[in-house]
Amino acid sequence: MENNPNITKRKINIRWLFNMALRDSRKNRSRLLLFISAIIFGIAALVAIYSFRYNLQHDIDKQVATLIGADLVVSGGKTVDPTVEPLLASLGDRRSEERSFPSMVYFPKTQGTRLVQVRALKGEFPYYGSLETEPVQAGTDFKNGQKALIDRILALQFNVRVNDSVKVGEVTFLVAGILDKAPGQTGISSGVAPIVYIPLQYLEQTSLSKKGSRINYSFYYKYDKPVDIPKVVKSIEPKLEKVQMGIETVEIRKENTGRAFGDLTRFLSLVGFIALLLGCVGVASAIHIYIREKIASIAIMRCLGVKASEAFLIYLIQIIGIGIIGSVTGALLGTSIQHVLPSVMQQFLPITISTDISWLAIGQGVLLGIIISVLFALLPLISIRNISPLNTLRINYDEVNLLRDPFRWLVYLLIVGFVVTFTYFQLDSWLGSIFFTIGISIAFLILTFIAWLLMKLMRLFIKSTWGYLFRQGFANLYRPNNQTIILIVSIGLSTAFICTLFFIQSILMGQVKLSSSGNQSNMILFDIQTSQQKDIAQLTKQQHLPVIQQVPIVAVRLDKINGHTLADVIKNPKLNIPERAFTWEYRVTYRDSLSATEKVIKGDWVGKADPGKEIPVSIEDNFSKRNHVNVGDHLVFNVQGVSMNAIVSSVRQVNWNKIQTNFQVVFPTGILEDAPQFHVLLTHVPSAKVSAQYQQSVVRRFPNVSIIDLGLVLSIVDGLLDKIGYVIRFMSAFSIITGIVVLIASVRISKYQRIQESVLLRTLGASRKQIFAITALEYLFLGMLSALTGILIAAAGSWALAKYSFEIPFTINWLPAILLFFIISLLTIVIGLLNSRGVLNKPPLEILRGN
């Protein structure tokens, strides 16, 4: 600039601007490195979390795909209508076909007969997962000959081994393998009857497929290239519905399997959002402090004749450079963490995390890093335009009041718009993004307000009577060149994110645990007659199995509600009673107490009926709402020919999620004991072997009793739940750790803020101890206050998330929160002290020179 005499009319010389940007950065590379490192950590956190998220989501989706074994399944209970045959042949890139039906099979070796589910299969199904058999190759080999796979339960029950035979219909098959697990086996049908797979080409010979046979026709499709499955479903659904065929896809199965998948998706979105904000905090706090430190240099340059616009551009160029370097390095670091970590931790993780490079994550990370750098640099940079050369001489660090500067508002708007847009990429919902952004803005404002309040209060409270160290330490919080706002905001926000993740994680884990079956019942015996129930319970206990529940079930119908019959309801729709209330065949029970999964929400539970009075019954909440029946209403039940007058004494809320018998209507004891009824018994069998043994002994003594074995179904679902649980824990642990790293980095950048003063103090004769105490006090206060505020914000945020996003009950565990409070406070002090260690350990002059 020395060569520029013509200051006023000079054109912008781009090359010179770049040079200046470079020259300015040369001044103190180590300091620059510190700032860039904050950006690197922020972006690395973001890229690693995003990459993990995309990979894990993909992994879980692949897991779910094994539940049905194909991309698309079409099935129906009748022979395929010729009109849809071309359609069925046109779907997918690879196709398999299956006919399944119940049949009695015969094991010649032990002369046993049993009802099984025969599945005649053609094609490469399953496309996801495999038919898990012993020996392994049997799962695919059996299709090549007159061979069958039999469920392990059958093998155990009838003492059948590989290479024995099984007769299905008229054909005797060689048992090629024992089946342990099969995709698509999660249906209830597999619980009723164990599975036998045979090749489809032998079905005709078995003569089981004839007129009148009840056969289910399934078609499995696999797409080799990614296809918009929901779109395919939409286009074929109406045609298939016409011929009474149903469709299943991975997506549909996910929805039907329960809320765990939805919870996982929402949680991963939340993690993504938090990663975004962590990235923002890392980058923004670094840039903010960096530029503020540059104000003096800018003023000097202005003194030497640099135009405001030139100064602005010089630093813009510099920031973009820093942003690019930081973001790219951060993206590299993040990707390598995401690559290395799973292989290092493989033995501790129950799931395989794929380590595909996610270009989407990298792209978002780099873009975000640069944009955030620029946007947050703009805030102080626009004030450059107003920095007069005099600023140098006055050493006025107070920011010029810019609230009236319209550009500043524009920048704010840009930042908000940008956060909303990037949030949208994570949440896939504009409304959600806006709410999340509003939430974060509120958190930001609260923290800023707290910081402002702190400064005001300190100014008021500090008395000259206090010791010097206290005065100095606290005064640092509000004196010019204070770092209160920036540190409280960045520490507070980081704490809030970490804590929110923690809270939500533990709430979700509670949900997952609730859903998984644990020691819940996995076997149901029904159609037990009254005369048999004691013996069966005894038999169960003899085999060391628990009788989890044993309930009588009576079939009843509802004749009248408050005197109105079905005929009245049809005649007079204004009665507001659905016809279904009367046409339904209710299965009710009677007992003297509530079960563990029930809660009375209205009225009083009555366990015993008084003879001669109306029978006090308890109804379920949904029954009450659906039929507009409430406590005190009169019902007339028809118990297979006998009218019974009842009055609703209570309304119950029932948790339907457990494997348990639940009832819409419960009678008290003393009424239905003599009515026709059967009993249901629920137990838990630990293994296939025990299950086979138990089933065998039950069926031998009580041939009429039917058994549903849900062990396999539940174990598959539980396995998936476990994985979801691990993913949630892994992601939250990883995000919390990265959050702490970002927090450390953002506190670390305040290093140079205090150096000058500390050195001056030392020069003036302050002892190391004194400086130590002053610094410790300042950071202690900042750390505690922002950690506390952050945790409170997290509690409020988690409550809102639980209520509105996850729609699950909010619970909070304060102990870890308190622990986190101490950890963050301590961390802040430690980093603060580390920051001034240089000053403490070295002679002042060295630092003054070296700076």
Partner: protein, 227 residues
């Protein structure tokens, strides 16, 4: 996660029950008919004791089930008989055995037995089914020695396997002969296995199917009532 309603689950596996939001049997009329043990009219009672084929599972109107069709035929023939429908969805022969005494509290002049289909679909050993049905017949004989007995035969679909299907089918003529009952070999004659006459589940007749069943039953029952 496991949104499995046990009752749903049980009934889903059974032949003759419904679950969820499907329309269930509107059995109001049958139930009330059965609800008046001492019928005021002098009509004699034809009691249909059976499962959901009798109860009319899945039909929009219970009188469309075959006992209702038979009632219409009786009325057309101006015979003084009243049909009582004592069908319960999902019932097996064992369930029927446990229920029979409760049902027999009311007067019975003609007892029509239609049970066993659920046993067959669950692969219950035929000897057990046979014993239970015999016990039901014995109970009726003991309480109403003069009641006329009718047995409606059942078959299982061919997919259950030839051997089982054969021995299952053989239960009914044997029982009928042993107990001197009027016998109809197969209740679902002309209807079973015809997709257009059955509901989506492939087992329960539609209203049209039930009409054919009712006519077939009437052919057999006519002789008994006119005797």
């Amino acid at each position: 996660m496991h949104r499995i309603n046990i009752i749903c689950l049980l009934t889903a596996t059974l032949l003759f029950a419904s679950c969820g939001d499907k329309k269930a049997t509107p059995a109001e009329t049958q139930a009330t008919a059965a609800a008046k043990p001492d019928s005021t009219s002098g009509d004699k009672v034809v009691l249909f004791f059976g499962d959901s084929l009798t109860a009319g599972y899945g039909l929009p109107d219970p009188s469309q089930a075959y006992p209702g069709v038979v009632q219409n035929k009786i009325d057309e023939a101006k015979l003084h008989y009243k049909v009582v429908n004592a069908g319960v969805s999902g019932e097996t022969s064992a369930g029927g055995k446990a229920r029979i005494n409760w049902i027999l509290k009311q007067k019975v002049d003609v007892f029509v037995l239609e049970l066993g289909a659920n046993d067959g679909l669950r692969g219950i050993p035929v000897t057990a089914t046979m014993e239970n049905l015999q016990a039901i017949i014995d109970a009726v004989k003991a309480k109403y020695p003069n009641a006329k007995l009718v047995l409606l035969g059942m078959q299982v679909p061919p997919n259950m396997g030839g051997k089982y299907a054969y021995s299952f089918k053989a239960i009914f003529p044997g029982l009928a002969a042993k107990n001197n009952m009027t016998f109809m070999p197969f209740l679902l004659k002309d209807v079973g296995g015809v997709p257009s006459l059955n509901q989506k589940d492939g087992i329960h007749p539609t209203a049209e199917g039930a009409k054919i069943v009712g006519n077939n039953v009437w052919q057999v029952l006519q002789g008994v009532l006119l005797k």
